[in-house]
Symmetry: C2
Subunit: 578 residues, 2 copies
Amino acid sequence: MGVIYRIDMTGLQVKSEEAAGDYAELGGRGLTSAVVAGEVPPDCHPLGADNKLVIAPGLLTGTGAPCSARLSAGAKSPLTGTIKESNAGGTAALNLARLGIKALIIEGQPEAGKTYRLVVSADGVKIEEAVALAGLGNYAVADALRGEFGEKVTVMSIGQAGEMRAGAASIAVTDMEGRPTRHCGRGGLGAVMGSKGLKAIVIDPAGGSAVKPADADAFKGGARKFIESLRGHPVTGTGLPTFGTNVLANIVNEAGAYPTRNFSEGQFEGVDAVSGETQHDVILERGGQIAHSCSPGCAIKCSRIYPDKDGNYLTKGPEYETVWAHGPNCAIDDLDAIAVMDRMDDDLGLDTIEMGATVAVAMEAGIIEFGDAQGAIGLLKEVEQGTPLGHLVAAGAEVLGKAYGVVRIPTVKGQAMPAYDPRAAQGIGVTYATSTMGADHTAGYAITANILGVGGNVDPLKPEGQVELSRGLQIATAAIDSLGLCLFVAFAVLDDENAGAAICEITGGLLGSPFSGDDFSALGRRVLLIEREFNKAAGFTDADDRLPAYFKTEKLPPHQVTFAVTDEDLSDVFNFTE
Amino acid sequence: MGVIYRIDMTGLQVKSEEAAGDYAELGGRGLTSAVVAGEVPPDCHPLGADNKLVIAPGLLTGTGAPCSARLSAGAKSPLTGTIKESNAGGTAALNLARLGIKALIIEGQPEAGKTYRLVVSADGVKIEEAVALAGLGNYAVADALRGEFGEKVTVMSIGQAGEMRAGAASIAVTDMEGRPTRHCGRGGLGAVMGSKGLKAIVIDPAGGSAVKPADADAFKGGARKFIESLRGHPVTGTGLPTFGTNVLANIVNEAGAYPTRNFSEGQFEGVDAVSGETQHDVILERGGQIAHSCSPGCAIKCSRIYPDKDGNYLTKGPEYETVWAHGPNCAIDDLDAIAVMDRMDDDLGLDTIEMGATVAVAMEAGIIEFGDAQGAIGLLKEVEQGTPLGHLVAAGAEVLGKAYGVVRIPTVKGQAMPAYDPRAAQGIGVTYATSTMGADHTAGYAITANILGVGGNVDPLKPEGQVELSRGLQIATAAIDSLGLCLFVAFAVLDDENAGAAICEITGGLLGSPFSGDDFSALGRRVLLIEREFNKAAGFTDADDRLPAYFKTEKLPPHQVTFAVTDEDLSDVFNFTE
């Protein structure tokens, strides 16, 4: 049930097919990964005609299940060379699902220099030339297309970085207010979209309707239980809505795992100025908004709207990862400068994590000084101007670091590590090293048991128990990403058995057949093994599942700890079958 | 017999040890690879303190054997991440050997920003600060040090590129005239030297003496036979001295394997203007020199001295690979512009092959136009100025290509392919794919049987026989590189059994015990397996031994051929034991 549109950018033709087999069964990350693994030659160049960009709502998206409006985008990544799924909030997933669309599969490559847009509606998908959009930032693209098609449409688009086919280029998705603030950020999927000559996708929801569960009663019962659980958990019910994701700043800093000055220290002396608590006060003082939803049907509301000093809208959030990346990781403690960079990243279409990491490496290279907020903003302006330095910055930390002979480049498989130092949170180190996606905290968020005391406790400074922790989380995450659920529901799931049971009831209700906890795990394992198999065929082996050597030798203050999980243990993470 | 100096750049101390065991047995590439494989952590960062730069003359160097003055430099490569040996002519190897030195092993890392030089003499090795040399090009460094230490010293040095720790940075070695024209070019070893704070190595030959063969009569008999064979072979006796290495331009172009416009065509319409024949005439008209030796004891004399239009010295050669890289690969047919770039590369300390390939990728990226010689020169000036674009250029084709989202990047393991398209010379394609060094023609020069009819004939356009051809050549080459012989002796060896026998007699004479053809092959296999083992421990697998996918799908004119050697066959190349 559900239509797959194949958009051939070589022949500029669109075909549709009823989803069948695996493609019918799967959704979200499961579906994007199945299509990439099944149809993309593993050795192809990620920016060539043989790669495919797959966009899919989750399996539960459109049903009305709480927190189920995540959109997955997948392809072979130009940043990592691995399979990649990157997901975002916003309104795209819901609107696609309500149009009965399982996936858009964008294939081939048009003549160089051409710019196109897709218009997706109840009538199907149209490819149209879009010369006027070329060179625009995401805000201008969203404004132009919402002006043309109306305020209810979703706009997915790439900024200048995607047009540059940059390794850190994201795909923007408009949020509940129609702003391009939600991003499939990681892995350079915006560059894949750019390589296909595609600047924007308009999704017109008119004529769509809710996805109907096969067993409405079971579904509704599960949904009620799920909301209760989410509201009752201190993280999803209180911490995230009040202080946003940046509630983590003080917590992770306290734990000594807050990467500072390009991962050379684990605590930042200026954390107070950039913490979630400070951000909360600044936002409220200026008339911004806390407890804001990034996508329809959100029951957590961790997003916020951040105004400038004059009270005018500046950007969303910014999220914990962004504040960290553009802030403490660069020794910057200026929340407004960070917010400006968040806005620039969103507009240029850049992954904020990769950008912050890249600016820090540029600081390590001596291009600008640590702490130089205006210099950091200047580096993003270079991207906008398309200068050689801008190309280097937009290419990500590893490429910039290589060009400047930097030794300390905190990447795995070419992707920058996010906001947790793997030495002081060794479980997340296991995830960085072994994830099918390169360094990615969302692939198996071990900060839960390592630092937050959610789902148990595993000493973050020791290697024991980290492999089991990361493996379990990676499996669960692959399932959550496939269902289209926001990853934050995991906080409740890990502590409250009702939450996991509720997800199973919801899914069983949708399918009209029982869906057990074992089925949930089996789904996660299945998706991970599909991804792992693709990576293997692309040339990746256990030897690639390692952190840069310096994490094993350089001690991280204040705990003076190195990453101690052995190579043998890392090679054991994927030691499971479907 | 022979001393190894360990130069500790962390503690700024020098220790010496008598070479023992493997280190005593091996020389040249065999020795550098044994030290790197035995002492460098495979997962270390190539520019970190754990990497070691090893410099060693060949086993036969200093004995008076013809063509035996090659110098090997080895380390973990910042360009490829593999083990790397890069060898050069010039006077360094002979002078080291005559001082009884088996190897210099440069270890550790000094405080950032410091600049040192080594002074190697009969009294040992001294580390000295060398602030005045910082930022200079190789020509100025050689001038300064020869002014200070006398005209008989050898100077090894890095230019600005090595100080930038650039992926394409070479180590220059002064030639017979004291000019820095001979380079350990490939793999960024100049960056490793730069990462150790080392700008130059002065080698004062005073007090040195010839290496004495154990069996002088056997040695002399072999040497006589060897010279006869080299003089009698049409390539080493006539072609190379008369027209230099660039004699290949017309031949390879005729074969349709002359990569043109960034490997998009196999023939260049302007080849006549840049051929070895034209170069020969230009050099003689201007009062330059052909049949010039790049190192002492050369019996081939393929080098030349290239004057500018006013008859003043401009540069050596340029060699076939350089003419191709900066010429036809960039659609440039201006021999003088190419010579200017050769001079700039030598002065900045850059691998000419990597530079030409990088300029071509910059052209493909649209930074400058194909055929724009002044634009190409301008890109090298950016390196000199240390601009972001200069860093990108000096980082090599893959990094620049990634920063600009280029799909057609002709590299293997991060190193640019040299002057033979692997589709129209599939044997060299096997070498590019499987060499322990990344894309490197000298690792197994299958052009012999593919195009030159030397050592038999293997149809260059078909996959059959290429694996056996490349494997045999890779083994022989590893032995030749370990003995310190110029690779060009292989032309004679492949066609004349007396040449191979002569090498064995020479080696047996040196050692004072019989050295058979089997011993020669065993040496080559041993060295290759040492290298392969290091690469495996560094994370490389068979899956890395592949050409970029587009060589398997894009047809190369004029033969309209794709690379057809199967992955299975490529994985079979290293299917041998010691």
